[in-house]
């Protein structure tokens, strides 16, 4: 039993099915080999009485299967190796690259706060720019990490009943620096104080932050964004509406594809990763929700994110 559990863990860690693990490939090939040898022996002794020929036949078959088995298990080993490397690489990005970026962020913050009074407007602006760029790099790393995690499996979802309003407030707070910088007002309304949903709140935040961040990115300076929450059948719907550049008719479905970036979006924000909406859709759907998009080029976009209502009485 312990062995099966180990294999299950290994399969989950590397994100590949159990039957593709090298050990499993090797064992299954051995079983196949024994079966084929028995069948051949059985058939051969029935139709051919020369024991010499039977032995040679069985031996040839066994050899062929052993060779095939080795080739298969070698390639399975390579797959596991690749997955291991990928995992280590992600660990390295996660820790080793984020730490210096975090220190830079904090040092810039202290510099801005303390030296700010002695600097002229231009210099303050320059510090702000360094800060923004640092944030962008940090977010890109977070995107890559989140994607690798989301791509890997669904098992790590930690569900809890949470108040959607609180999470949305938190997400708006996380983006407050960016919205202030772009002078964008976020108008958040809910028809009731609290709507409870059953979700993995950390993953949900990734999605909500992405959509609001896009809304800010693709709005002109000084515009406003409307966010509202209301119940919709078994769901609670979160609507995020901007008056930004909008999305072309033909692009509405493919904006959710991995690495896809809208034509209009590329002009405004040339450096995006094209992962935001892909991840958002994936996490929301993992949690049993949906994401819909209405948009008019030049007029703005409206994203509706639906989350399953909590089963507890509201």
């Amino acid at each position: 039993m312990g062995l099966i559990k180990d294999l299950k863990n290994e399969s989950r860690d590397f994100g590949i099915p159990i039957w593709k693990l090298p050990d499993v490939v090797l064992i299954s090939m051995a079983v196949v080999n024994i079966l084929v040898m028995l069948i051949t022996y059985f058939l051969a002794t029935r139709y051919d009485n020369d024991p010499g020929r039977v032995i040679i036949l069985v031996a040839i078959e066994a050899a062929v299967i052993i060779i095939i088995g080795n080739v298969l298990s070698e390639s399975a080993k390579k797959i596991v190796e690749t997955h291991k490397l990928k995992k280590e690489f992600i660990q390295i990005i996660s820790h080793q690259m984020r730490s210096p970026l975090t220190t830079m962020k904090w040092q810039i913050e202290l510099l801005r706060k303390k030296a700010g009074k002695n600097l002229n407007k231009k210099q303050v602006e320059q510090i702000d720019r360094i800060y923004e760029e640092n944030e962008r790099l940090t977010n890109m790393i977070a995107d890559i990490l989140n994607m690798s995690r989301i791509d890997k499996n669904l098992e790590h979802l930690i569900y809890s009943d949470i108040i959607l309003e609180t999470v949305v407030e938190e997400c708006i707070g996380m983006l407050s620096g960016f919205s202030k910088f772009k002078k964008i007002e976020i108008d958040f309304k809910s028809d009731k104080k609290e709507h409870r949903v059953c979700v993995d709140s950390e993953k949900m935040k990734i999605g909500i932050v992405n959509v609001i961040e896009n809304a800010i990115s693709y709005s002109k300076k000084g515009e406003s964004i409307k966010i509202s929450i209301k119940p919709d059948g078994e769901f609670i719907a979160l609507k995020i509406k901007d008056r930004g550049i909008g999305i072309k008719e033909g692009e509405k479905d493919i904006v959710f594809n991995k690495f896809y970036r809208g034509e209009g979006g590329k002009k405004v924000q040339p450096e995006g990763t094209g992962l935001g909406l892909f991840m958002t859709k994936k996490v929301i759907e993992q949690m049993g929700g949906t994401i819909e998009l209405k948009s008019k080029e030049g007029k703005g976009s409206e994203f509706t994110l639906k989350f399953l209502r909590s089963k507890k009485k509201q």
């Binding site: 984020r98 220190t103 962020k105 904090w106 790393i141 977070a142």
Partner: protein
Amino acid sequence: MELKRQKKILIVEDEQNMRESLQEAFLDGGFAVLTEEDGESVIDVVKEQEPDIILLDIILPKKDGFEVLSELKSDASTRNVPVILSTNLSDPSDIQKALDLGATTYLVKSNYSLDDIVKKVSGLL
């Protein structure tokens, strides 16, 4: 009017630049600040100096944050000191592990400005 007692925070962080940034921010925020650069003597420092709250990094030399946390939580004299685990890992299983071990909360460093960290800590006291 009685003066509010100054709160004392213990910051356990191995990276010097990060530690000093945090130290500066908390000093500015009116805290008394103790620092440690590895996990080894955290428990002794906590017993001796009785901080009001601990900001504990997960990846540390000698003894990692999880070990330190379980040590703190298994000793009656240190059990009640709130611990915030700070990390840049943000792996859900690590976060779950931290909370299971009794951390009050956790924060992913790269998501927070110093201001927000000071606010978060003050909010817990």
